[in-house]
Each structure stands twice: as structure tokens, then as C-alpha cells.
């Protein structure tokens, strides 16, 4: 039995109007995100047997997002951020009309495709959760998406300046809570956020890179 089952039991027997978002019950749709004993988790993947039988289990909605009702939150902030990300812009096809990518080129970005958009990483990120910098910071989920586009071997768009200015990656201080709560085990900080920060360092903070660009007259990408 999982926490979501217990919520459904309460819903059926004690509080018919209790609002709770859910769908697959298999940890793949990302709908039943909530905070269980204060920790952002998927209710369908949290076993009751992991807790002391005498313990009171507390469930709360995600703190980062406005509450619609009970455990249901309004996560539309995320979709608004997503709309601002420049989409995939592939280079021209090969002469035979195909695109070609080697496995080693897609292995790295394949990890980011595992994201189920549960937004637990957005919930736990203190920049959004406590400091409320939704005005300036996109959040970990969108740095995964930006990394998957920026590292794509066929993509030609350049999003580095937007990652700095519009999506505010500098607000992230690498506390890795997003990685800790990710139910898909994506290494959000090590494989997406830090590599993007390093790309920013190449562009904006490294004087040697700046000098090399001036001498060679060309940018790294595109």
C-alpha cells in the first residue's frame, strides 16, 4: 500500500471532497507530487510500510505553487517558462535527406528525456520555494530541458545568453536538492546545471576564452 492508496481510502470513506491529482499510479505521469512528512515525493511511489505504523504521516501540497484545493496546486508557472525556451532548431539534413547522430552523442542528453515533469525539483528548489524568485529564475526542470537542447548534436540555436539573463541560472547555488528529490534519478545538478554554468563561464567570465574568441574571431557554437 502506498500513500496515494491511503489518500484514496480517506477520500472514499471520510472526505469525499478531498482534492488530489493522480493518474498512472506507477511513478511515470508525475501527477501525484506532494510533500510527505515534509519531503517532496510522488504519493504513488511512497510505501506506507516505510514508515512506523504508529507514526502520523503528514501530507501537504507542494509549497512552491499556489494551492487550488487541498493537495492540488497550480503548476502553470512551469508551462509559462517552457514557452519562453527557444525550440529545437536542427541543422540541415545530410545529402541523402537524413539526420545522423551517433549513440555516444545522444547518450548524454538521453538522461534528460527521463523527466516526467512531476515538478518536485521545482518544489524543493529554495530559489522558487522560499525566495520566490519566479520572476528571474526558471528552476531545475527547465535547466534540464535547456541542457538537452544546448547539448543536442543537431541543434543550432544559441541559448547561452538567455540561460544567463532570462532563466537566471546564476541564482542556483548548487545545493543539489533537486537531484535528491528527482524520482527518475536524473543528475540534474551535475549533468545539466553545472555544465550550463560552465558554458556561461566560457562565454562571460573566463578571460582566456574571451581572448581566444577575439583572436580567432569565432564563437564555439553555431
Amino acid at each position: 500500500m502506498v500513500v496515494l492508496d491511503a489518500i484514496h481510502r480517506i477520500q472514499a470513506l471520510h472526505a469525499n471532497d478531498l482534492a488530489c491529482r493522480w493518474n498512472c499510479k506507477a511513478g511515470k505521469c508525475g501527477s501525484c507530487s506532494m510533500e510527505i512528512n515534509g519531503r517532496p515525493k510522488l504519493a504513488c511511489m511512497t510505501r506506507l510500510s516505510d514508515y512506523d505504523p504508529e507514526e502520523t504521516i503528514t501530507v501537504q501540497p507542494m509549497k512552491t505553487f499556489p494551492i487550488i484545493k487541498d493537495l492540488v496546486t497550480d503548476v502553470s508557472f512551469n508551462y509559462e517558462v517552457n514557452k519562453r525556451i527557444p525550440p529545437f532548431k536542427p541543422k540541415p539534413r545530410d545529402a541523402d535527406g537524413n539526420y545522423r547522430m551517433m549513440q555516444k552523442d545522444v547518450d548524454r542528453i538521453q538522461e534528460f528525456r527521463k523527466c516526467i515533469e512531476c515538478f518536485l525539483c521545482q518544489d524543493v528548489c529554495h530559489v522558487l520555494r522560499d525566495h520566490r524568485r519566479q520572476d528571474a529564475f526558471a528552476g531545475p526542470r527547465w535547466f534540464i530541458r535547456l541542457a538537452s537542447l544546448e547539448m543536442h548534436p543537431l541543434d543550432t540555436a544559441d541559448r547561452v545568453s538567455q540561460i544567463k539573463e532570462d532563466f537566471g541560472i546564476g541564482f542556483c547555488n548548487i545545493t543539489k536538492c533537486c537531484t535528491e528529490v528527482c524520482p527518475e534519478g536524473i543528475h540534474i545538478t551535475d549533468n545539466a546545471i553545472i555544465p550550463l554554468k560552465e558554458r556561461l563561464a566560457d562565454r562571460y567570465y573566463d578571460p582566456v576564452m574571451w581572448l581566444m574568441r577575439k583572436i580567432t574571431g569565432k564563437d564555439r557554437k553555431k
Binding site: 519531503r39 509549497k63 541564482f171
Partner: protein, 286 residues
């Protein structure tokens, strides 16, 4: 199980948000022992900083043939008058300079320790560690941080963290120097041998290598900045290197702690042997 359906029973308490969340430093609904980890990190890093600072300012008993403490390597200048000092021939630039200001302690360590210190201070792992443990930004996941109005993260004062790669370049030189010290420790007065100190120095160089080669900036520079790993033979070679560094990078935290502990232990061991408090078991005989 009896569940109250009276909405009044479920209304948020005063000072909490509608979802029952609290605001403020250390505010959380977590019921586990979340403070254990930041507290352990706080204690561990504090102990290291205190010991390393003390050891760096001693300026003596950092050498006992053929072992040199890693806190004092590379040796730029040597003060031959200090007890337990290395022979002047070991120093890159000879005897301690006459122009050295009198108000600054004479210790070869203070000339070089800022560099590995900068490498660790700007390291992505240690940033996580000390932001949580020392700065409360935040102290734990889903735990209230110290309020900042407005929060700036690494966009203003902390922008210098983006120059971590320069500290890494210097750290790579230190790795070469420490391996050289470890290999030279097999030879005492021209005779090959092995002792406990040799093993200690080798482990120290190996752990510091594991930590340095797992650096996120190094991982980026050798291959991470490429979008296509298969586009040329040089890209293929860089992918191979990137993959190996990724292996170290996945254990960066473990190497960070093990190397931190061991480098302090190595200094402690050399110091104890130099002071004559403990013997060094070796094949040379005393």
C-alpha cells in the same frame, strides 16, 4: 482510523501558509534528522580548517627524510634554521628571502596553501556543502533558508565562483608535485626503500588525483563543452577522456572528503615522525 471532516480541524495554524507550510529559517515539516548531515559537514570542515591553519603557520617539523608534508609542497623557499625543516636543496628557490616582511610568519606553507584552498572553496561539491552547513542557503532540502531580500544567489558577490577553472589549473600542477614527492619518498639518501610514510604519501597523491580529476570544470573543458563527440578524431579522443573524468566526477564528494582527511593526516604523520613522537617503520632502518 478516525478522520475528522470538520474543516476547522484542518485550518492552518497561525503563522503558516494554507498548505500548512511554515516560513523562516529552519522551518520545515520534515520529521527525519535532516540537521545531522549539515552539522557533520560543519564539524568536519571546521576541524580541517582549524588544523590546516595551525599547521600552515607552524613553519617547522614538516619534513623528515625522505617525507615532505603536502601542506608544504611545493617548497618555494626554506628557512634552514627552523626545526624539522627540509634541506635548502629541496626548495625551488633556495633559502628564505631576506626581504620577507618581519610581521608575516616565516612558513613555506602560507605561500602555497591558498591555491588548493581556492580550489576547494570554489569547488561545486564544497559549495553545496558550505552553502548548506555554514550559510544556511538552505540548511537542508525543504528546510527554510536564512532570509535574503532579495535573494541573489551566485549572480553578484559570488560571481567569482565562476573562475573555479583557474583554481583547477593550479591544482593540476599540485597533483604533479605531490606525485613527485611521493615517488621521491621511495629514495632515502639514494637508497630505494619503503616505509609507512611512503604509503601515506602515495595514498595522499592518489586521493588528491581522484578529487582533482573529478572536477566539474575539468570535465567541461576536456569534452563537456562539445555538442558532438563523434564529429572528428579529436572529439572522439575528448569523449573518451570525458567519460573517464565522468567516472571520477560521479564520486567527487567521496574523493573530496577522503582527500581532505588524508592530506591532513599526512601532515600529521610527517609532523609526528619529525617530532620524534612516533617511529616510521621502513626498510631503511632508523
Amino acid at each position: 482510523m478516525a478522520v475528522s471532516t470538520n474543516p476547522a480541524d484542518h485550518a492552518p495554524a497561525a503563522g503558516t501558509r494554507p498548505g500548512g507550510h511554515k516560513d523562516g529559517f529552519r522551518a520545515t515539516s520534515r520529521k527525519d534528522h535532516w540537521a545531522t548531515e549539515p552539522l557533520a559537514v560543519l564539524i568536519g570542515l571546521s576541524l580541517f580548517i582549524i588544523y590546516a591553519t595551525w599547521a600552515a603557520f607552524q613553519g617547522n617539523h614538516y619534513y623528515v627524510s625522505p617525507y615532505l608534508s603536502p601542506f608544504y609542497s611545493p617548497l618555494l623557499w626554506v628557512n634552514p634554521d627552523a626545526a624539522g625543516a627540509a634541506p635548502v636543496a629541496h626548495a625551488w628557490f633556495g633559502s628564505w628571502p631576506q626581504w620577507w616582511p618581519a610581521f608575516i610568519p616565516i612558513s613555506p606553507s602560507i605561500l602555497i596553501l591558498p591555491f588548493p584552498g581556492a580550489f576547494r572553496f570554489t569547488c561545486y561539491y564544497y559549495r553545496k556543502a558550505y552553502y548548506r552547513s555554514f550559510a544556511g542557503m538552505p540548511p537542508g532540502c525543504a528546510v527554510g533558508p536564512i532570509p535574503q531580500h532579495p535573494y541573489k544567489g551566485e549572480t553578484k558577490f559570488l560571481l567569482f565562483q565562476n573562475l573555479h577553472r583557474y583554481a583547477m589549473y593550479i591544482a593540476l600542477i599540485f597533483v604533479v608535485v605531490l606525485w613527485t614527492d611521493a615517488v621521491r619518498a621511495f629514495f632515502k639518501d639514494g637508497r630505494f626503500g619503503i616505509g609507512v610514510g611512503t604509503v601515506v604519501l602515495i595514498i595522499n597523491a592518489a586521493l588528491l588525483s581522484g578529487y582533482t580529476f573529478g572536477c566539474h570544470s575539468l570535465r567541461h573543458l576536456v569534452g563537456g563543452r562539445l555538442d558532438c563527440f563523434s564529429c572528428s578524431s579529436s572529439c572522439e579522443a575528448r569523449h573518451s577522456l570525458w567519460s573517464k573524468i565522468t567516472g571520477f566526477n560521479e564520486r567527487h564528494m567521496q574523493y573530496a572528503w577522503m582527500s581532505l582527511f588524508w592530506v591532513a593526516f599526512t601532515d600529521f604523520y610527517v609532523r609526528m615522525v619529525s617530532l620524534g613522537y612516533i617511529p616510521d617503520f621502513n626498510t631503511w632502518g632508523r
